[in-house]
Symmetry: C2
Subunit: 236 residues, 2 copies
């Protein structure tokens, strides 16, 4: 594992900020893999992959603590100006969101263990599959927007959260109909309802990250008004 610059030499402030950005990107990558594996474990009821995903979450948690320590150490030694300080505090928040997303992935994996022995029908899990693809894209785009301090991309992520919510609502209704059709579906579909909810929440965390990226870049809160304004501009 390559050490960060700050492990070895007294580097420049810019180098330290870059190391911090790199650590966030690395954590983001780990979390994306966790979502993929968590969903795969769920859809294939793959116990081994579920166990691996659950264990791997420990690394994500460690990563958050490491990023926290990096931030505290940078602030303590460098005494950064307000704008740099703001960006470091934002890194703490983004790492927090990623840690929560890692938790969601772990919960998907755990849920798969509860479904063991049940024959999942493709109709049940197609929605989960599609929703995973959408929230993964949201998370990737949010992390890119954050890394590139791209306000326009942040707005797009936030706008697209409506799609995630709509998909969640439709999946919720669909699963409910399976339960109403046949009581034997109730247990399975209940678990899948929670998986859908987890995915929706991953989407919310992606939005949080995008909102923070927007604020870093513009100094303004990305409110619903601003989103509407941007939406109109895009349409116009």
């Amino acid at each position: 594992m390559p050490g960060t610059a700050s492990d070895h030499i007294v580097s420049s402030f810019t180098d330290e900020l870059n190391s911090l950005a790199q650590a966030i990107a690395e954590m983001g990558g780990q979390v994306e893999v966790a979502i993929e594996n968590g969903t795969k474990a769920l859809l294939k009821l793959d116990r081994e992959l579920a166990d691996l995903t659950i264990i791997a979450d420990q690394r994500v948690d460690d990563m958050q603590r490491r990023i926290d320590d990096m931030c505290v150490s940078i602030i303590a030694r460098r005494q950064p100006m307000a704008s740099d300080l703001r960006s470091i505090v934002t890194a703490i928040h983004v790492a927090n969101d990623l840690e929560r997303v890692g938790d969601m992935a772990k919960q998907l994996a755990r849920r798969s263990l509860k479904l063991e022995g049940i024959n999942l029908q493709p109709t049940f899990y197609n929605g989960v599959k599609n929703m995973t693809a959408l929230v993964l894209r949201q998370l990737k785009d949010a992390l890119d927007a954050y890394a590139n301090r791209d306000a326009a991309a942040s707005v797009e992520v936030c706008n697209r959260d409506d799609e995630v919510d709509a998909m969640h609502t439709s999946l919720f209704r669909e699963l409910l109909t399976y339960m109403l059709e046949d009581p034997r579906n109730i247990t399975t579909c209940t678990h899948l309802l929670f998986c859908a909810k987890n995915l929706e929440r991953i989407g919310d965390h992606a939005t949080n990250i995008a909102e923070r990226a927007y604020y870093l870049q513009t100094g303004k809160q990305l409110t619903a008004d601003v989103q509407d304004l941007h939406r109109t501009q895009i349409k116009a």
Copy 2:
């Protein structure tokens, strides 16, 4: 509304840290009220209270931003030593947890709007009521442990999270049986399942706060090992 010390005069560093602690306590109080109101709105299907709870969450969000700004401002001007810096960064995390708890309360209120017109049977919601009482106690104790830097109290909160989880599991199973008994219960019980999950997550946030309080006081992570150790000491 009384202004914080830092609004008006150049106060001492200790005063500023006290203002920060007071802001967290205030936010904690707001969030506790939100949980109480959210659950009440749900159990009584009280639309007015639900609306009030949803609107009040805006104030909790504003409070988080204010605490964030206070922290950045204190760090920028005071350039605190490592241990003070650590406690300020912890305040950022605690405010983050409280903001999430506020969201959970808002979701309980929103859920009540979806249940409108449904006649909730007491058997359905007794479990929710008991669980609310338990997680409210967890949150209060965690905030007290944090305010008083009380490591032993933090450990107790973390240990008691098992109780929350057990109560959630039993409620989950109970609601599932109502669904299996009569398909007409499916929609209502599904919504209540999510409420139970929200309450369980409030318990998790309380645990997070307790873990951070423990770390602030001892400089050590409150791992499962440490919890077991304390548990043995209490039993011995």
